[in-house]
């Protein structure tokens, strides 16, 4: 069966189960767009190719499949770079298809030519330059396989215009991904499992560090069984939130730079850390020299390159987390760790006293209140897509995620502007889910043209802007570490409510806590999209905070209410 390269692209996407792609047309990808009309795949017209990649990313994270973004050559392709790097750092499986100038023009500085495979080499799991129609099917099939297998990540397929235009015989079966090498059997030997079990069963003060790997490997049930059987408390990384239910008695909450004091203290004082699919990022360890000094470490991780990268571990178990936990579980002894759990519990009291949620309403609107009310209003069931900055940390602290894939956020790269487009992708992956964007006034302005995409696609996304008139997290660092010199952090925003209305989206502004609940209800009752601009306390900071590079236990604590009365020590 003879087909053009452009037809083969869509034929492959259909056969790979792709229902929706996020893209933007242009010269070098025009043949593919022309052929699109003959296929069933739904195309979402984005407003910027960066948005397209974040949508593909959000789609992948919310649904567990592979997200697809399409762009033309040159600027279309380079606009994808931030989204690709975001997916790379957070191990998100996306496939980016870019048009390329004709193969004879490559290297000639032709109009809209750029070396996108060269540019994306260090930020993709793999990429392809395809110059012949007969190579398209194999490249795409392999790209999907690579994106989703092992430690997932982005793959880019750059296809020249002549490859799209020319015809060849299409043979799906012949294009199956080749086994080019033996993959290491990612499974530890029995003696390693036994050594791990010995450490686990002997430990007095163990802590599980639950990472993104729990969600990626689908090990939620196994992690919970493990934790419950051995009575081991669970601290989560930012991307691990939702992998273990927040309401579970053994859940401690988020660890690291903005983790609660009791979580970080428990880690520092533990005698065994069980790292489940996490990579000891600097945001969770603080100063490596003083990190969990008395703890043995067991690292369960699918990527061998992560072992001993930041933290020296005692037992590395390389492989799929779920499989390894299944093998460990029978050997885990039911152990009473009541004293350790009670000790951690005793650490919480002090934090609770300092928590804004437990202070009397001062009449000011705090971001923490907004997040708390959103959590209550949605019963913790919404898919929340956050941007990057203070609001992201407050969301992680005050929205309690019970289920996997309900928090979607740019953790590794920290990409501002991620939330709105990623939420669009998430909504396509989970059309029945209530999807909320929680973004700051700064990050939202980076990608807000995608509001038009929401309207064009008629999807009901709800947006909460935590508006404090500052690039808040940077302002906080300036306050703490640069003597309060607010260099270029005050930021003017449009009237977001009016802006939303201009796009045809319901817009609301909220300035007091009393208005929060009704506004959330109005947004939730609206069958279409809605945006709420929450004007919150301007110079509020995220507490607690471990300054970058400081010891994990040396946190800047929440100001105690007693401090304000001058009676705290």
């Amino acid at each position: 069966m003879t087909k053009t390269g452009a037809e083969i692209i869509w034929e492959c996407l259909e056969r790979l189960g792709v229902k929706v792609v996020f893209g933007y047309p242009g010269g070098a990808i025009l043949p593919t767009y022309d052929a699109m009309t003959r296929y069933s795949v739904h195309h979402v017209l984005v407003r910027h190719e960066q948005g397209g990649t974040h949508m593909a990313d959000g789609f992948a994270r919310a649904g567990g499949g592979v997200g697809v973004a399409i762009a033309t050559s040159g600027p279309g392709a380079t606009n994808m770079v931030t989204g690709i790097a975001t997916a790379m750092l957070d191990s998100s499986p996306i496939v980016c298809i870019t048009g390329q100038v004709g193969s004879k023009l490559i290297g000639s500085d032709a109009f809209q030519e750029t070396d996108i495979t060269g540019i994306t080499l260090p930020i993709t799991k793999h990429n392809y330059l395809v110059t012949r129609a007969q190579d398209i099917a194999a490249s795409l099939r392999e790209a999907f396989h690579i994106a989703a297998s092992g430690r997932p990540g982005p793959v880019l397929v750059d296809i020249t215009k002549d490859a799209q235009n020319s015809s060849c015989e299409f043979d799906w079966d012949a294009a199956a991904p080749k086994v080019r090498r033996m993959e290491p059997v990612h499974f530890p030997k029995p003696d390693a499992l036994e050594r791990a079990l010995a450490l686990i069963n002997e430990a007095q003060r163990p802590v599980i560090l639950a990472g993104h790997g729990i969600i990626l490997s689908g090990a939620m049930r196994e992690a919970m069984q493990f934790s419950e059987k051995a009575s081991i408390p669970v601290a989560e990384t930012l991307l691990g939130l939702g992998g273990f239910p927040a309401s579970h008695p053994l859940s401690l909450g988020m660890m690291g730079m903005h983790g609660e004091a009791w979580v970080n203290t428990a880690i520092q004082e533990s005698d065994l850390l069980l790292a489940f699919g996490m990579r000891f990022d600097d945001r969770v360890t603080g100063n490596l020299k003083t990190y969990a000094p008395t703890a043995k470490k067991i690292h369960i991780e699918i990527d061998p390159a992560e072992i001993n990268k930041n933290v020296r571990v005692d037992v590395p178990l390389i492989g799929d987390l779920r499989e390894i936990l299944q093998h460990l579980l029978p050997g885990v002894k039911a152990t009473d760790r009541g004293a350790w759990l009670a000790y951690i519990d005793s650490l919480k009291t002090d934090s609770a006293v300092r928590d804004i949620q437990n202070l009397p309403d001062s009449g000011h609107l705090y971001a923490a209140h907004v997040i708390h009310d959103l959590w209550r209003a949605t019963n913790g069931d919404a898919v929340v897509v956050t941007d990057v900055g203070q609001h992201q940390m407050w969301e992680a602290q005050y929205y309690h995620h019970e289920k996997p894939r309900t928090l979607i956020t740019s953790g590794g790269l920290g990409t501002m502007g991620f939330a709105l487009p990623a939420a669009i992708g998430a909504k396509f992956a989970r059309p029945d889910a209530e999807v909320w964007v929680v973004a700051g006034d700064g990050g939202f302005q980076m990608t807000m043209p995608e509001l038009a995409t929401i309207v064009q696609e008629k999807i009901a996304i709800k947006i909460a802007i935590i508006n404090n008139g500052y690039l808040g997290m940077v302002r906080q660092w300036q306050q703490f570490f640069y003597d309060g010199r607010y260099a270029s952090t005050p930021i003017i925003s449009p009237d977001f409510a009016k802006l939303a209305e201009a796009f045809g989206i319901q817009g609301m502004s909220v300035r007091t806590r009393a208005e929060v609940g009704p506004a959330l209800e109005a947004a939730r009752n609206n069958p279409g999209p809605a945006l709420i601009d929450f004007h919150v306390e301007q110079e509020d900071s995220v507490y607690p905070m471990v300054p970058a590079g400081a010891d994990l236990h040396n946190m800047i604590r929440r100001p105690s209410p007693l401090v304000e009365k001058g009676s705290d020590v």
Partner: protein, 187 residues
């Protein structure tokens, strides 16, 4: 090379395709490891090339470099042969000033080193030598007083001694830790 870095030798089998060298080199570039020597050539297997890379890397990082190299899709196998008994050779051509009165001594030196004179011109000669890094360096030191006009060297090629082919069992020695046998791999 900083203090805790030492020269590590990696042997890679890679697909013979455009861009593969760039992917491999980029991995070293990203971490600011200087490649001291690089040799690439065809192997006994069609479509597969073999690379020998020598780079200054700390001991701990070498295992991660190995693991990261193996993550490259076009890399079929990787082995850090630094601590394995190997035969290592490179080739050098040295063009040295050779007036009549010096020629005899130069040829004497070449003979001792089992090097060959491959070009003789009125005032210069080219000496070809094959050998270990040390041997080539020793010859270079001896020739320098005569006046080296030009010198070119290939990268080092390395082969492990005995029957075993480097990473004949692919994935075998890709372990997380030196001497750590906790990781098993398929054949």
């Amino acid at each position: 090379m900083s203090d805790n870095e030492k020269l590590h030798t990696f042997v890679l089998y890679v697909e013979n395709q455009p861009g593969v060298l760039n992917r491999v080199a980029s991995l070293f570039r990203r971490r600011a490891y200087n490649i001291e020597s690089l040799a690439v050539g065809h192997t006994e297997r069609p479509g597969i090339s073999r690379m020998t890379i020598v780079a200054g890397i700390s001991e701990g990082a070498a295992h991660r470099v190995e693991a990261n190299l193996y993550k490259l899709v076009n890399v079929l196998s990787v082995e850090d042969v630094t601590h394995v008994t190997t035969i290592g050779r490179s080739v050098a051509l040295v063009k040295v000033e050779a007036p009549d009165e010096a020629r005899h001594r130069l040829m004497e030196i070449a003979r001792v080193f089992r090097a060959r004179v491959v070009d003789l011109a009125p005032n210069s000669m080219i000496i070809e030598i094959t050998g270990t890094e040390e041997k080539i360096r020793a010859l270079e030191d001896l020739l320098r007083p005569f006046g080296i006009l030009e010198m070119v060297r290939t990268g080092q090629v390395v082969m492990t001694r005995g029957v075993k082919r480097a990473r004949a069992r692919q994935g075998e020695s890709l372990s997380a830790d030196p001497g750590d046998s906790d990781v098993s791999h398929s054949v």
